[in-house]
C-alpha cells in the first residue's frame, strides 16, 4: 500500500489464504464437481447393468480407452471452447473449420508430407479464428451471428474445394505417417506419472518455503516427498500402465496446458476478468479485445488440429466431416459448469463433461439400447445440468445478495474465522472451487 493510513474500525480477517487441502476439499464438493460424480454414477450404472445382461465389461481397460479415443475430437476442442466461453464469447464454427482442415490436409499430404499438412491444417484454423475474432471484436458484430456465418461459409468452402466428393490420401508413405500421428497407441505408466506429479508438487512446496521467511512448516514437504518416492517404487515394481491412442494423450496434454495457464498465470486471471466484467477489465488496463481475439484464434487452431487428426485416422474424409461437432463441444463445456455469460468455467470439468457425453454413447452401444434414445437422453441431461447450475447460482444469490446486508464481521464473529482458515462462509468456497 502506498498510503498507509489507519482508518477507523479495522477488522481482522484471516491472515492466510485457504490451505491447499481445504481448496481441494472445496473443489471436490458436489456443488462444484457435480459432473465428476455424475460420470462416476453413470459408469457404475453401465458397468452393473452390462454385467447383469452378461455383456462385455464396461469398465474394462479396452473400453475406457475406446471411450477416451472417441472423445478426442470434441475433447481437444473443449478446453479452447471453454477459454472462448470464459472470455464471454461463443464459437459455432469449430466443426466446419475442422472439416475444412481435414480436407485440406488430405489434399496436400500425398505430395508434401505430414508436416506440411499439419502446418496447413492448423494454419487454416488459426486464420478462420482470426477472421472470427476480428469481425467480432473490431467490427463489433454479435459472436453468435458471426460464427454461425463462418460455420456455414466454411462448410460451403469445403464443398467448393472438394466439389462434393470425398478426399483421400493414396501414397502409402503418407498414410503410414498419418496412422502414426493418429492411430498409434502409446503405453504409459500411470503410477510413474503420478509419482512425478507428487514429487514436483513437493519441490514446489519446498521452493515456496524457501521464498517465504523459511520459518514455514516443512512437514507437508516431507510428506509429499515421501509419498512421491513410495509411488515411484510402486511404479517400477507393480506398474499400472494404460494403453491409449495418441490423440487421447494430445487431449490430456492440451487440457493440462490450458488448465495450468488459466489456473496459475496472470493471463488466466485476466481472462476470467475479461469475461466477468469486460468494462472493469478494460479500465484495469487489460487488452480485452486482444484476449478475446486470441481466444478465437486458439479455438480455430484447435479445430484445425482436430481436423488433421480426423483426416489422419481415416486417410479419407467426406466434405461434411465433423459437422455438428461444435454442439457436442459446447454441450460438454456446459455440462462442466462453464457459464455462457463468461467469467467462470473450468477446462478440467469441461473435459469431464465431454467424456461424459461419449460415455453415454458408448454405454448405449454396449447395452444394445440403440442410438435412437441416445440423443433424447443426452439432451435431457444437458438441460438438467444447466438447470442445476442455474438453480445453484440463484440460491447463492438470494441467500447472500441481500443488499444493505450488515457486515458479517463483528467482534463476535471474529473468532469464527481465525487460524487455519475455518470456513468463512460456504459461498466464497463455492466460487473458489469453480476456478
Amino acid at each position: 500500500m502506498s498510503v498507509d493510513i489507519q482508518l477507523s474500525r479495522a477488522t481482522s480477517p484471516r491472515l492466510h489464504p485457504q490451505s491447499m487441502r481445504r481448496r481441494l476439499l472445496s473443489a471436490a464438493r458436489p456443488g462444484n464437481a457435480g459432473i465428476v460424480y455424475a460420470l462416476a454414477i453413470l459408469v457404475a450404472v453401465f458397468t452393473i447393468s452390462s454385467a447383469a445382461k452378461g455383456g462385455s465389461n464396461y469398465l474394462s481397460a479396452v473400453n475406457i480407452g475406446n471411450v477416451l479415443d472417441q472423445s478426442t475430437s470434441a475433447g481437444i476442442l473443449v478446453p479452447f471452447m471453454t477459454v472462448v466461453l470464459i472470455s464471454g464469447r461463443f464459437d459455432l464454427s469449430v466443426g466446419s473449420v475442422g472439416g475444412f482442415a481435414a480436407v485440406v490436409s488430405l489434399d496436400v499430404v500425398d505430395q508434401y508430407g505430414i508436416w506440411a499438412a499439419a502446418v496447413l491444417a492448423v494454419g487454416c484454423g488459426l486464420g478462420f479464428g482470426l477472421i472470427n475474432g476480428v469481425i467480432v471484436e473490431y467490427l463489433k458484430v454479435n459472436p453468435f451471428v458471426v460464427t454461425l456465418g463462418t460455420m456455414t461459409a466454411v462448410s460451403g468452402l469445403t464443398l467448393v474445394v472438394t466439389g462434393g466428393n470425398s478426399v483421400m490420401a493414396t501414397q502409402p508413405g503418407a498414410i503410414a505417417q498419418m496412422n502414426a500421428l493418429s492411430s498409434a497407441f502409446l503405453t504409459a505408466n500411470l503410477t510413474l506419472i503420478l509419482a512425478i506429479v507428487v514429487l514436483a508438487y513437493a519441490l514446489l512446496l519446498a521452493f515456496r518455503r524457501t521464498r517465504t521467511d523459511g520459518a514455514g512448516n516443512w512437514t507437508p514437504v516431507l510428506v509429499a516427498a515421501a509419498a512421491g518416492a513410495a509411488l515411484a517404487v510402486v511404479a517400477f515394481t507393480v506398474p499400472v500402465t494404460v494403453h491409449w491412442t495418441r490423440p487421447v494423450w494430445y487431449m490430456l496434454l492440451l487440457t493440462l496446458v490450458v488448465w495450468v495457464v488459466l489456473r496459475f498465470t496472470v493471463v488466466g486471471r485476466r481472462l476470467y476478468a475479461v469475461g466477468g466484467n469486460p468494462e472493469a477489465a478494460r479500465l484495469s488496463g487489460i487488452a480485452v479485445r486482444r484476449y478475446r481475439l486470441v481466444a478465437f484464434m486458439l479455438s480455430g487452431a484447435a479445430a484445425g488440429f482436430v481436423g488433421l487428426l480426423f483426416a489422419a485416422r481415416l486417410s479419407a474424409v467426406n466434405p461434411d466431416a465433423l459437422s455438428g461437432l461444435e454442439l457436442t463441444v459446447i454441450a460438454g463445456a456446459i455440462l462442466g459448469g462453464t457459464s455462457l455469460f463468461g467469467g467462470s468455467g473450468s477446462v478440467l470439468l469441461s473435459l469431464v463433461g465431454t467424456v461424459f457425453l461419449y460415455a453415454i454413447a458408448d454405454g448405449f452401444n454396449i447395452l444394445n439400447l440403440g442410438s435412437n434414445y441416445q440423443d433424447l437422453i443426452q439432451g435431457m441431461i444437458l438441460i438438467a445440468a444447466a438447470a442445476t447450475y442455474t438453480a445453484k447460482a440463484r440460491t447463492r444469490r438470494t441467500t447472500t445478495r441481500a443488499a444493505d446486508k450488515p457486515p458479517v464481521m463483528s467482534a463476535g464473529a471474529e473468532t469464527a474465522v481465525t487460524a487455519e482458515g475455518s470456513p468463512a462462509d460456504p459461498i466464497s468456497e463455492d466460487s473458489a472451487g469453480n476456478r
Binding site: 500500500m1 502506498s2 498510503v3 498507509d4 493510513i5 489507519q6 482508518l7 477507523s8 474500525r9 479495522a10 477488522t11 480477517p13 484471516r14 491472515l15 492466510h16 489464504p17 485457504q18 515456496r208 517465504t212 496459475f264 498465470t265 496472470v266 493471463v267 486471471r269 485476466r270 476470467y272 476478468a273 466477468g276 466484467n277 468494462e279 472493469a280 477489465a281 478494460r282 479500465l283 484495469s284 488496463g285 487489460i286 487488452a287 467469467g343 467462470s344 441467500t399 447472500t400 445478495r401 441481500a402 443488499a403 444493505d404 446486508k405 450488515p406 457486515p407 458479517v408 464481521m409 464473529a413 474465522v417 468463512a424 462462509d425 459461498i427 466464497s428 468456497e429 466460487s431 473458489a432
Partner: protein, 503 residues
Amino acid sequence: MPVTTQAQRVLEFDNITKVYPNGTRALDGVSFGIRTGSVHGLVGANGAGKSTLIKIGVGALSADSGLIKWRGHPVRWGRPNDATRAGVAAMHQTVPLVPALTVIENVMLAATGWRRLPATAHRDFEQLQARMDYYVDPDAHVSDLPVGQRQMVAILQALASGADLVVMDEPTASLARTEREVVFRTIRQLAANGTAFLYVSHFLDEVLDLTDELTVMRDGKIVDYGPTSSFRESRLAQGIAGRVLTGAAPSAVERAHETSEVLLNVANLSSPRGLTGINLSVRRGEIVGLAGLLGSGRSELLHAIFGSDAARSGTVEVAGRPVPPSPRAAMRAGIALVPEERLLQGLIAESEIWRNVTLAHLPALSFARIFPSRAKEWSSTVNAIHSLGIKVSSPDSLVSELSGGNAQKVLFAKWLLTQAEIYLFDEPCHGIDVGAKEDVVALIRSLAESGKAVIIADSELRELLALSTRILVLHRGRIVAERNSRETSEHELLLLSSGIQGA
C-alpha cells in the same frame, strides 16, 4: 414513540425481524408507521437494514416474524404484485427500466390490457408530466437517456400508478439539482393530496428539507424517531453513525503546492463524447475538483485523461511525457481512475475481494511476473482491508455481498495498490454511508498530502468544496471557470455550472 391512531397510518411495521440464511440479523424488532399524506424519511448507514425493511414493505421479501399492517389491517404480501395491488409503488436504488423500450412504454409498463400502448397512454403521460412540471420525450428509447433522466423516468413510473404509498430508495443519487427540485416539488404536492412517501436517502440535507417525520436505523434497529423539525444534522449524523462526527475540516489550501512540480498537464483535450478544448494542469499535492451539472462532461473528462476514451484528441502529459490514449499507457504513466459505477466499471461482482484488489497490479505480485503468488495477493488484500477499514469476514467474500461503502473501499484498495501518482476519482462518495464517506475523504486527503496529484469529479458541491484545493467548473464540455475553493461558494459554483457567467 408517539402514539398515533391506527386510521392515520397507511403502512405500519410491527416488531419486524428478519434473519438471512447466512445468519445475518438484518432487522431486529423494528416497529414504525407511515402516516397518510406524510413524507417519512428513513436514514441509516449502509448495512443498517433500510433496504431489507423496504423490501419487506413492498412484498419483495418476507419477514421472519412481526406484522405488517396496511391501513390498520394485518396483511401478508408474498409477492411484490400483492403490495402493488394494495397501493404501494416502489422506486429502487438501481433503476429497473427496460432499456429497449421507450420512455412512455416504461412508465406505463404496469398498465393492464392487451395493447402494447393503450390509447390513453400519451394523454396520461402528458398529465403526469404537467403535474410534475418535468418534460422528457415520451418516445425516446430509455437506452439513449443519460443516467439522470433514466432516474426521472423511474420516478415517473412510480408515480404513474397513483399509489397511496410511494417508497423511494435513494431517488436523487444521480440527479442534478434542478431535477432533484422537480422531484421534491412533486413529492410535496402529492403528499399534500394524501399520498404517503417513505423516503430513503444518504443526503441528510435533503432528508431534513423534505420530510415530515424521520426514522433513524442502525444495525437493524430503530435508534431515533421524531418529527423532522426536532432534528438537526448533528443529531441525525450521531444517530446514524453512533458516534460524534467531526465536520469536514477546511481543506489544506494553505499548503504551498503552488511551487510543487506540475505532474499532469492536459492540453486542448477534446472528445466526440462531449469535450471541447480542455486545458488543465495538476501539481503534486493538489486536489482539483470538477464541478458541473449532470452531462457537463465530468466523467467524460476523467475517461479522456485516463485514455479509456480512445477517441480523444489533444495531449495528456505526465511529468512532461506524452501519454497515448489507452488505459494501459495511462497506468504505466502512473494514472489511476476510480470510476463512478462501482459494479459496472470498477469491480467484478461475482469474484472474490482479493482477485478484485490485485487485478490492476497482478504482475508485480507474481513470480517472474507471470505466476500470481497467492500469498502476496492475500497479504496485499489483508493490508488493504486493515488500512481502509473494510468490513468483511474474509478476502474470499464475493464483492457482490458487500455494501456500497465497502465495495467502494475495495475499489480504492485496487487502485492504491498500483502505486499511482495521479488519481482520478469519479463520484467517490456516491451512494455510501456517512462513516464510509468520512474514511474516503480522509483517504483522498492523505493521498494529496503524500504528494500525489488528485482530480475529483463530484456532483455534491459541498463535498467538492471541502475536499478540493481548486475547482474547475465544467459546462457543456468546456471549462468555464476556475476558482480557488477558499474563495468560492456553493452558490457561486451552482450558478457557474448552470451557465451563468460572472456570478
